[in-house]
């Protein structure tokens, strides 16, 4: 077993009387690609918000590299290298793609205020390094042709790529992606899967929330299935594919029998 990066320990979230997550308990190991799936309203985005400090859990704890994240602000969690992307608002719309990534690189510029204003010798070098890194990241996600266009003018799929470049700019050790391929066509999704693999190969652990099942099945090492705020299954894709509880959650009770029947005839 590899080293555990993220440990979700019996996390529960309640909004007043509404239970969004009742009891969630799973680990993500170093270098894994894990997907969190489940029908709409299963609590996936809520889980993300808890992990990244946008929401405090009602009970339980999130531990990242052995450290309890309770009480940390979102930007402090980002400082630890746990970075997320968003479902919808993934870019700074009025800035160019390049400037978007530059904003994402904020954490990398450790320049003091005075040094930045007076442009001391270190400032120029630091700014150059940051710009170089930004160009590199834009290339990595394949948007160099769009580098100087306003991020808000890009297509939905391309904005997702900007979101990923932004997240990568913050130097993640672990990346949480919220429905990264929704709104992408098949060929864009295919390219995106390769990008995810490349990011993982560079040493970044990845947790995905996604609805696109073929994509989830092809990219994940492990899948965690959530329904009504609790985990109903966990395992490698081939196991999840045939798990009766999962099929029931997605297709309903009667479908389970249909699937069994189909399996029997196959």
């Amino acid at each position: 077993m590899t080293e555990t990066v993220l440990r979700i320990e019996h996390v529960g979230v309640q909004f007043g009387g509404l239970v969004a997550i009742s009891d969630m308990n799973f680990d993500v190991g170093q270098g894994e690609i894990v997907s969190l799936i489940g029908p709409n309203g299963a609590g996936k985005t809520t889980a993300f918000n808890v992990m990244t400090g946008f929401l405090a859990p009602t009970k339980g704890a999130v531990k990242y590299c052995g450290r309890d994240l309770r009480g940390l602000k979102p930007h402090e969690i980002a400082d630890l290298g746990l970075i997320r992307t968003f479902q919808r608002t993934s870019v700074f719309p009025n800035d160019t793609v390049f400037d978007n990534v530059l904003i994402g690189l904020h954490r990398q510029s450790k320049l003091g205020l005075l040094a930045a204003i007076l442009r001391l010798p270190g400032a120029r070098a630091s700014e150059l390094a940051v710009r170089e890194r930004a160009a590199e990241l834009v290339r990595l996600v394949g948007l160099e042709a769009r580098s100087h266009e306003l991020a808000g003018s890009l297509s939905y799929g391309e904005q997702r790529l900007v979101g990923v470049a932004l997240a990568l700019a913050a130097q993640p050790k672990m990346l949480l992606m919220d429905e990264p391929v929704s709104g992408m066509n098949a060929s864009e999704t295919h390219t995106f899967v390769q990008l995810i693999r490349r990011i993982r190969d560079s040493g970044v652990t990845i947790l995905l929330v996604e609805h696109d099942m073929p994509m989830v099945m092809s990219v994940s090492d492990r899948i965690v299935v959530l329904n009504y705020g609790r985990i109903i299954a966990e395992g490698p894709p081939e196991e999840i594919r045939t798990n009766p509880a999962v099929i029931e959650a997605y297709l309903g009770q009667s479908a389970k029998d249909v699937v069994k029947e189909v399996a029997a005839h196959a």
Partner: protein, 347 residues
């Protein structure tokens, strides 16, 4: 290009007293210049972080009072026989103190109100300005209240080889204001082009996303508020030592509104915006005065403002700069080439 233009503009402003000899107009230019510095500081908050400080004049007024009191000295009873006595310091020390103390007030207001932003920040700043005005009005032992602080000394600066120079004439004060304005412009420009400026822009456009990549909201906004307030304080100090008499009216709400008009008409979020808007709305009343009745002046003032915002809703500079070849140009969308799909079809 932009830098050359800035220098040409600076040279132009520096040349004004050479051909403009009318002391009345020069006086108008000086007070306008002081308000432009205030407007620039407001633009730093409003245009680059999106926070509207509707009590911005408080920082200006605090700067004016701190500077005036430092150079005048005071003797204030606190409790019983305990007095705080201050002997006059040179006005330049007052200027420095004005910057520091206004900046400190910016820190306090920022720290308090940036937990809740937007409308709440507007309310906190308005209240802050009103409280400070009431203090200035009622703490008579310190501020003379409505009787005003009078005989505020002019600023004296030490020049190498020239000894000390007291800036008494309009000409000297014009160049002093111009120099401070240039420094403020330079500071703001460097700040917004640094990674701090990028953090501010990120926060304004999409706060959740900015936070998610590790930008500390409170820190970035508080820092901006400090710098903005400090610059406003510097403007206030210049005002006190130029006009040489200040009363609690320096905290008037209308002055903040004037700054907002300068910033919004010129173009918030553009460096030159407050300067352009400031020149127009600072000098407009002066130019209208000889030709119109007072009522007509204010109506014209309002009409000009409405006309500008109707035709150029984003302000003069953001609308015109790209046409003249300055600043960030909107990039025309390129035709999308679908190489990937066609390649697949042929495969």
């Amino acid at each position: 290009m932009t830098r050359v233009f800035s220098l040409v503009t600076l040279a132009f402003f520096a040349s004004v007293p050479l051909w403009l000899k009318d002391p009345y107009l020069l006086n108008a230019l000086i007070t306008t210049g002081i308000f432009i510095i205030g407007a620039m500081s407001m633009n730093l908050l409003l245009g680059f972080t999106g926070q509207l400080s509707l009590g911005h004049i408080a920082f200006f007024g605090i700067g004016a009072y701190v500077s005036a009191l430092t150079s005048l000295g005071y003797d204030v009873p606190i409790v019983g026989d305990f007095h705080i006595v201050h002997t006059p310091w040179p006005p330049i020390a007052g200027f420095a103190l004005a910057v520091v103390i206004s900046g400190l007030c910016g820190y306090l207001v920022g720290k308090l109100s940036f937990r809740v932003r937007g409308a709440y920040f507007v309310i906190v700043t308005i209240s802050f300005a009103e409280v400070v005005r009431l203090v200035a009005l009622n703490w008579v032992e310190l501020t003379q209240g409505p009787l005003a602080l009078t005989n505020i000394p002019s600023i004296t600066i030490g020049l190498p080889y020239l000894g000390y120079l007291t800036l008494k004439t309009k000409l000297q004060n014009y160049y002093l204001v111009l120099a401070v304005a240039a420094v403020a412009y330079f500071l703001i420009s460097r700040l917004v082009h640094s990674h701090y400026g990028r953090a501010m822009r990120g926060l304004m456009e999409n706060e959740t996303l900015a936070v998610s990549v590790g930008i500390d909201v409170t820190k970035a906004l508080t820092l901006t508020a400090i710098i903005s307030a400090a610059i406003a304080g510097a403007a206030g100090s210049l005002y006190a030592h130029y006009i040489r008499i200040i009363d609690p009216e320096v905290f008037a709400f209308i002055s903040t509104v004037t700054m907002v008009i300068m910033v919004v008409s010129g173009g918030k979020g553009s460096l030159a915006g407050p300067v352009v808007g400031g020149v127009i709305f600072g000098l407009l009343p002066v130019l209208l005065r000889p030709v119109m009745a007072p009522e007509a002046q204010w109506i014209t003032y309002g009409l000009v403002l409405i006309a500008i915002l109707f035709v150029l809703p984003r302000g003069i500079v953001p609308a015109l700069a790209p046409k003249l070849g300055f600043g960030r140009q909107p990039v025309k969308p390129k035709p999308v080439v679908v190489t990937e799909l066609t390649a697949k079809e042929h495969a």
